[in-house]
Symmetry: C2
Subunit: 240 residues, 2 copies
């Protein structure tokens, strides 16, 4: 078994891919499913998200939900919302590009810090040859929060898969854990974290840095095309 | 001024790009120019390298020079060769892909650990808006030795350019310096280092990990097409 980490998404992923977008898609979607949401559909298009049938529409631009959306995508806000049984549509700036690279993967999961344990377990159960842990990045660049999260995942996977060998990406990501013993410090320094702090959403960083809080590993369970845009469906992975 | 680090080459680079391939192209080419080579032409094609007019032809496959080449590309071997005044052609597996992404850059340098100080100085003098430090990678993956080298460069640049801001890539690369206080340990663990060790070339790692030994920053000074392949010409950068 191989455990490799991509510090920037390239693909392809022939076996299992775990996408890490700590601030904030992996965190918020994991949290929604942990709180009982039936499914979360992910898209990069505000228009597709507006038109797609859903109980709860989430998007954020400059800290606010655009017209036609119920709420933003802050995990702090989502912790307060009723989610049980809902069909949610979630608009993400960075995640869709990485999702587009997962065609051909046998299984795809999302992981943040809050659901790292659940995601590592789900990925280890699903994998046959390799788990590719993918740091999603932020606005066309590598993201410190995502590479740190990928380091957590890689470390958990290497512990749970006997004989698994890390690649250089996994070594680099895991060494960030030594450089940042407090993960919240890495989130604080990251470009995503700076942006959220500038928007008055510093509390998101505290929520996103809680380790292994949420039991749900979001698992890709299908996709749909809507007016030329792809929407990806995530559900909570159920251990066999 | 911005200092950014790409952990994996993507481009474009509108201003200054510094390509880091510690094991071994940046190290060996810097060493050849420091020892007085007139110019070093870089290509990925054995055939183009064989046919291109040169005094010294360097390439390596599985630890040995292929037919038609004078020597391999080991810095240990190159330290022993006379290089002064020579026109050298150097075959590299990983560097050409990154070089192909530098079209449009105002200036391009190569940097390893041995010539990090010279390369950081040359890049700082040439830059107007940003220096992009690019970890070249190894066989389609991020490389631990190159990301560590990029961290060295970024740290030197951030010190010498007052007010320069690091991006997340620079923060990640620089944090490797804390995780690996002895750079040779990172080279030892890296996939490139493992490959060289398996070929009996462990001494290359010691030579490549010497900090700021060589005074020459290889600077891209032109290119030529030969039978559909590009050869890139490097010369020693001369401070104004």
């Amino acid at each position: 078994m191989r455990v490799r980490v991509e510090l920037w998404p390239r693909g392809p992923y022939p076996d299992v891919a775990v996408l890490v977008d700590v601030l904030r898609a992996s965190t918020s979607i994991g949290l929604l499913l942990a709180r009982g949401a039936r499914e979360v559909w992910v898209t990069g298009s505000l228009r597709a998200a507006r038109e797609f049938p859903a109980d709860l529409r989430l998007a954020e631009r400059e800290g606010l939900p655009p017209e036609g959306f119920h709420h933003g995508t802050s995990p702090v806000e989502l912790l307060r919302l009723p989610a049980a049984g809902l069909r949610v549509v979630y608009t993400s700036e960075n995640l869709p590009r990485a999702l587009d690279l997962t065609r051909g993967a046998r299984a795809v999961f999302l992981a943040g810090l809050r659901n790292a344990r659940a995601a590592a377990g789900a990925a280890a159960r699903a994998a046959r040859q390799e788990v590719a842990v993918v740091a999603v990045g932020h606005r066309g660049r590598e993201a410190l929060d995502d590479v740190l999260g990928a380091g957590f995942l890689a470390k958990k996977l290497l512990r749970s898969l006997p004989g698994a060998e890390p690649d250089d990406g996994a070594r680099i990501a895991a060494s960030l854990l030594r450089a940042f013993p407090d993960p919240q410090e890495a989130l604080w320094q990251s470009a995503s974290g700076r942006l959220l702090r500038s928007l008055g959403q510093a509390e998101d960083l505290a929520q996103a840095s809680l380790i292994a809080r949420d039991p749900a590993a979001p698992r890709l369970a299908g996709l749909e095309r809507h007016r030329g845009r792809t929407l990806y469906r995530f559900v909570a992975d159920e251990p066999d």
